[in-house]
Point group: C2
Chain length 344, copies 2
């Protein structure tokens, strides 16, 4: 759709309408725009313009004799063409900085705090995903005998990330066997990215001897050890922020989104979807989302760097959200996060 031929006035009216609707949550009438934004045109003119916008599918009337609200397409146009950068206040920057940096306890703790600060400052859902280790390079693998039949596998990645997997094995494994296996794994696999290891472990480890039962745990294509998502964690903060929003006055809707929060697989995909395209901010509006349950919501997300790999953070809320503000927020938080993780 070629919306470039929107007149200047049409753009302005759309922008004002969205800007007002985002805070009021009520259909916006021509008079409100005329009074609040002083565009130098009368409400009657604005009415005509709004009629045009409606024909283009950018706004709609919930019912006759109501004001207009933006459609998904309206938001899209706004985000693509009309979005002005909104700066964060110094206070906001400071809060983000302090929250994200002053952390002990590893990356998980940092990400949890980040999701909270995102939620708090946006008054939406704040979401963070642990780094996607698919392309992370394995620097070292350690096997530790925990108890009879239990082996702890520690994967250390050159990005500084660690992942532990507890394996269970029926056979009893002697310490020398374990050490031998550990050495073999390091020789054959370290220096390779995890994704490659998963696909080629079978060939690379074939014929290396060692305890066959133990070996088998590392060979399978779907071995727990090499699954890149097995340790992926999603932190979600601010679920309470959604409750008060009029969009979720309907309990069915609320139920749906709360359920979504608790079964995060789909959400992880939705959030990561943007990563591939771009390393900057990705905004997904309403029905553009893949999973049906979230099609009345928008996502503003960005990637952060953790060593050589990337993770995703973002904000989720109803399509009626302050895109400009959230863009700055998410961008700044992602930068801070990358900075903090680099200094580790």
């Amino acid at each position: 759709m070629a919306f470039e031929n929107l007149s200047d006035r049409e753009k302005k009216v759309l922008a004002c309408l969205i800007s007002h609707y985002v805070t009021s949550a009520d259909p916006v009438g021509s008079r409100v725009i005329a009074n609040k934004f002083r565009l130098g045109i009368s409400s009657a003119t604005i009415r005509n313009t709004m009629q045009d916008l409606e024909e283009m599918g950018l706004v709609l009337q919930p019912h006759t004799s109501a004001g207009r609200i933006p459609t998904d397409a309206g938001y899209r146009l706004f985000v693509d063409m009309l979005l002005g950068e909104e700066h964060l206040t110094e206070t906001e920057k400071r809060v983000i900085h302090e929250t994200i940096s002053a952390q002990y306890g590893g990356i998980d703790s940092v990400l949890e705090q980040t999701s909270r600060v995102l939620a708090e400052l946006s008054n939406q859902l704040g979401v963070t995903i642990t780094p996607h280790i698919e392309d992370s390079v394995l620097s070292r693998i350690e096997l530790i005998h925990m108890a009879e039949g239990k082996i702890l596998v520690v994967l250390a990645f050159s990005s500084g990330l660690a992942r532990t997997i507890l394996l269970e094995i029926e056979a009893s494994i002697s310490l020398p066997e374990l050490n031998a296996m550990s050495q073999v794994l390091n020789e054959k696999l370290s220096g390779l990215p995890l994704g490659k290891i998963r696909k080629s472990a079978q060939e690379r480890l074939a014929g290396t001897g060692g305890n066959p039962r133990l070996l088998r745990l590392f060979l399978d294509d779907d071995s727990e050890v090499w699954k890149s998502d097995s340790g992926t964690r999603l932190h979600i903060g601010g679920a309470e922020n959604l409750i008060m929003k009029p969009e979720f006055a309907d309990k069915e809707k609320l139920t749906e989104i709360i359920r979504l929060i608790n079964s995060p697989q789909g959400l992880i995909e939705s959030l990561r979807a943007g990563d591939l395209k771009d390393s900057g901010i990705v905004i997904t509006i309403g029905a553009e989302n893949r999973s049906r349950e979230i099609q009345s919501c928008s996502i503003v997300s960005a990637s952060y760097n953790a060593g050589e790999t990337k993770g995703t953070i973002g904000v989720i809320g109803p399509t009626r959200m302050p895109y400009g503000k959230l863009t700055s927020l998410v961008k700044f938080a992602a930068q801070q996060l990358s900075k903090v993780l680099r200094n580790r």
Copy 2:
């Protein structure tokens, strides 16, 4: 309060009232009880009885000319004296059994599944806490060099539980130094329960030499390594179940409880409180709860065994809950969980 002198009839009426109210959520009138439960007495008699119950503070009227609803004290009496064991259906037992047993991926995954199945079968919040390792005996401690300035500490407990802590240290530590420290720690500390280690690490490790910077990480009273709660995790399932309950029609209430779910420290304490007293089922009703935010809710909880230590599982919902059913449910789930964890 001596409620033993309740007449047989009063007990019956209270039990019927609660039983009906639990499913209807509406104040229960005398006529409903007379018709539904066929006690052989007229509604007028029941009215008189209910008046007596109200004087005793066991039921109350939300407003004149409404039926009665149970008070916290009413539920308490019901739970203590009138609770009949309600058996689970075979289907329910099977679902629990299958969900809890067929699990890979360590105890965390099992507990998460457990919280979900509890939520699903109870239609309330299902909650599980990881085992309380305060009294767990350390069987082995391993130090692994992850990256420059990063050391992974692996604690293995004789119960078969493992915990990993990522430490950061400014100094660069050589491999021999690390191994030496590891050996010292094992010699001095293994065989001791974690709680004791925390209190006495300073004395026990004094004068053992080794890299002082490294050593210091294990000496502090509040060292991350020995904190028994640092790895405690709370799994909560079924938040969506609460939304539809009339008790949470008030958005403020709902907000409060959702917020509680996301900041679980208080919840952990509330849930563990019962553990100390008893190894069986603990039922905490309404205002009996410590933390204010949860005083309109009840908790049905039980301990499970994980080796020599214990954890807690439970169900949380409005005081209007089917205590009999939930008791059986939580008890059975705890048994299954203990069984599964023993076979690991």
